[in-house]
Symmetry: C3
Subunit: 345 residues, 3 copies
């Protein structure tokens, strides 16, 4: 499907600079831009590519001032990255959408399905499950007994949701994610054998939550493990029993959060961060990648780094000296020699 620069400018309410009839039929990144594609320039680091790009159309910020000639047609908008996001969404929504019930699938006779639902082949919907309107359940997904999924949520292929868990509206759960597996709870008996503590709680995802591929969120021992409104979790993350993830908190891939930890809203975690159990983290705290967090965080909005994690500036200062340690050690030993010479004099 071909679009003219002028048509795109109209969607975005932007201004065309160059040929309004330039055609695009694809998107591309500016550093690898292909002919007949649309690209964008938001990060000034990538400006050099705009002067040589083969793309026909480039979205740029209103205040962009080129230093050389540009052969592509420009579309000026207030925020090039947001304009791109708008176009990508426009494109995505123009794609054919899955609907209907593919066969064979397993839908328990007591389950209730809303309007315009998609159920892929080999999907399983258990006893008394409630599926809202416009929900998409891809092939081989497992929806346990008594699970509730609210309107417009997307459950990708092979997602497993254990019995009783609740998924709010507009959620997206990527392939292979597991929601509601047992929390990791054992108590040693007299002989030292670990006896399982039954896990009878549930998982609640509030609305607008996105869960990455193969991420695991354990059910609560009692009560609820909660991921609150608008939180976004990347792939391969571990959320243990009774954890509470605050609204709009964002976690990069492979983060792990141990049992009963409460995380505030609008926190950000880099990849592979680990939090111990029973901690409290206030709002807007940031953890650098691979941080290991053994204690509760006191200060709202603080940034931490390291394992164990400390204030990021303190970590950086100490790490600079860590790299010099062999030199410093030599320096100390020479000083000591000098000192001995002095005291022996």
């Amino acid at each position: 499907m071909n679009f003219k620069a002028s048509q795109i400018a109209e969607i975005l309410q932007g201004k065309v600079e160059g040929d309004p009839d330039s055609l695009v039929n694809d998107f591309s990144k500016i550093e690898e831009s292909k002919e007949n594609s649309l690209t964008f320039l938001a990060n000034p680091k990538y400006e050099k590519y705009i002067y040589t790009t083969k793309a026909s159309v480039v979205l740029v910020n209103d205040d962009f001032k080129p230093e050389k000639d540009i052969s592509a047609t420009l579309i000026r908008v207030p925020n090039a990255y947001k304009a791109l996001a708008t176009l990508l969404e426009f494109y995505e929504k123009s794609m054919p959408q899955k609907t209907g019930i593919e066969q064979p699938s397993f839908i328990h006779e007591s389950a209730v399905l809303g309007d315009s639902v998609y159920v892929g082949a080999f999907a399983y919907i258990g006893e008394n499950a409630k599926i809202g309107d416009n929900v998409k359940i891809y092939p081989q997904a497992y929806i346990g007994d008594n699970v509730v999924i609210e309107d417009n949520s997307i459950i990708y292929a092979g997602v497993k949701i254990y019995h009783g868990c609740k998924i709010g509206k507009n959620c997206i759960i990527h392939a292979g994610a597991v929601i509601g597996s047992d929390g990791f709870g054992f108590a040693p008996d007299e002989t030292g054998e670990y006896k399982k503590i039954q896990q009878i709680g549930i998982v609640i995802l509030e609305q607008d939550v996105e869960i990455g591929a193969n991420t695991c969120i354990d059910r609560a021992t009692m009560g609820e493990t909660v991921v609150r409104k608008g939180a976004k979790l990347d792939n391969l993350i571990q959320i243990a029993h009774n954890v509470d993830v605050g609204s709009r908190t964002v976690m990069a891939a492979q983060v792990g959060v141990a049992g009963s930890t409460k995380i505030g809203k609008e926190c950000m975690m880099g990849g592979q961060v680990g939090l111990a159990g029973h901690l409290t983290v206030p709002d807007r705290v940031k953890f650098g990648a691979q941080s290991g967090v053994p204690n509760s965080v006191k200060k709202e909005g603080e940034t931490l780094l390291g394992s164990p994690a400390i204030n990021v500036t303190d970590f950086a200062k100490s790490f600079i000296i860590f790299k010099k340690l062999p030199d410093i050690y030599r320096q100390i030993n020479e000083m000591e020699k000098t000192l001995k010479n002095i005291t022996n004099e």
Copy 2:
């Protein structure tokens, strides 16, 4: 379903203090306790909540001495946490249990199934597989050819068990776990291309093993990868080919163990710990979260921390100084200046 405090006390052989007719119909944590629920107090850190809880019944240790009035009915038992575990199990066992063969499922004609087995829809049971009595195989699980699963084990939705692996009795494997995928073995040929080393061994889980969601246990190159009796592995763990995990060893989420490493019994690993290959770890060793272990551990029962991991006390002492490094560096430089002044005098 409602229970009276007196009925619960009878199950637990505990003593009621307060109204024996108090009704409970749910469990709750003491810090979020709900009306008509039963809760417990084991960790003294949570004692403050008992004086304000809305729960009707609280399990407490025999020796608990309240400092103020408590409105809830108490049940005194020797160990409140264990008593809770008993009640949770009682509750779980009272729930309806899955049985029977759902359709469509795929059971190879040569497979042998025990009594009272559950096979969920879209589960696959391969050639010559042997499934014991009371085994539960949830929907979309894959049981490869020649796999053996002994009595009472539970295989949750979407678990994949490759051909030839053996699962002991009373095991629990959570959704998405993969048992018996190929070990990671390659040898470069003359041109530098990696040639795959075929992995012809198997995985053995002994009895009473629990495996978390999306955990992966690779088959042996030759011989067996073994997880021994009563070991408990949390979610998203990687166990490589030919690893041997000792009896009652416990691993928190996202631990990784490289090939051929032998881990003793009753070891404990915090989250995100990594062990290199071909190591030996004696019994009862503990690794703090995020430890990285490049060498075999010598001392039974030692606790290690850090990456690379060292004795936990040594790590803690060194890390205290690490945080002071910028100050110490200033101190050294001032001392050096002073020294130069002296030697120049």
Copy 3:
């Protein structure tokens, strides 16, 4: 099935030393060698086991000189490990191979299947998917719309490949891996809510790539996430959107690579390594296990370690001093005292 030492020597073009009629019916590791098995000695560390092994046949290097008597029959070959790999492959190829279409499976009427394809029960093959010759798609695998899988590739049970992704020939993808899930891209709107950036790119695996169990490779925001020819990725790895993994690069389990990072060819990463986004890593770089890499690497072939990762030798030198820090701190404080005494004199 029994083989004589002489038959094996013929396959390998090796020389028999001992009884050419010794029978083997299994493989074993030299340290746990079983009767009637074939084992090998490649690593001199394991030489001691050859003098007591119960195995009937041992593959040894041509230049191996025994120090004592050996009861097993030896087969001398130029490279014992490669000879073993050859035998393992010979064994594996002698096993019955899966073929045919099991029922029930879901193959969209527009999908095109090559010759000698295996499609397991409950596998799903979407609209316009193209499956090459000799491809094996195990039970419960999901092949989305427009996916292309070239000849001889193996897709194990429960793998999920999202729409539009391309898998080259001779690839192996292990159970539970997810190829083509959405990249993790969000932009906050005026109110601070995260708005999803639609991910419209794809994933390309070039030929001869192996992907481990439960590993996740996200689709590109625009364009392609690429894993190049002959790269090998272990289990539970995270590859984010628009990453480019170079040819023959090898990653151990639980590695994470953030968005848009470009990794050269023949790089090696230990377990649990993490790379930040938008980095460049030149060819043949090695990262020690658990390294955390916040910046691009400048030097081809360098080895790095630590979090943040630095040159491995520098890290090792600094870490030796880190362990001595408490002693060094005492030393400094004593020196300072001495100095004060001197300056006060």
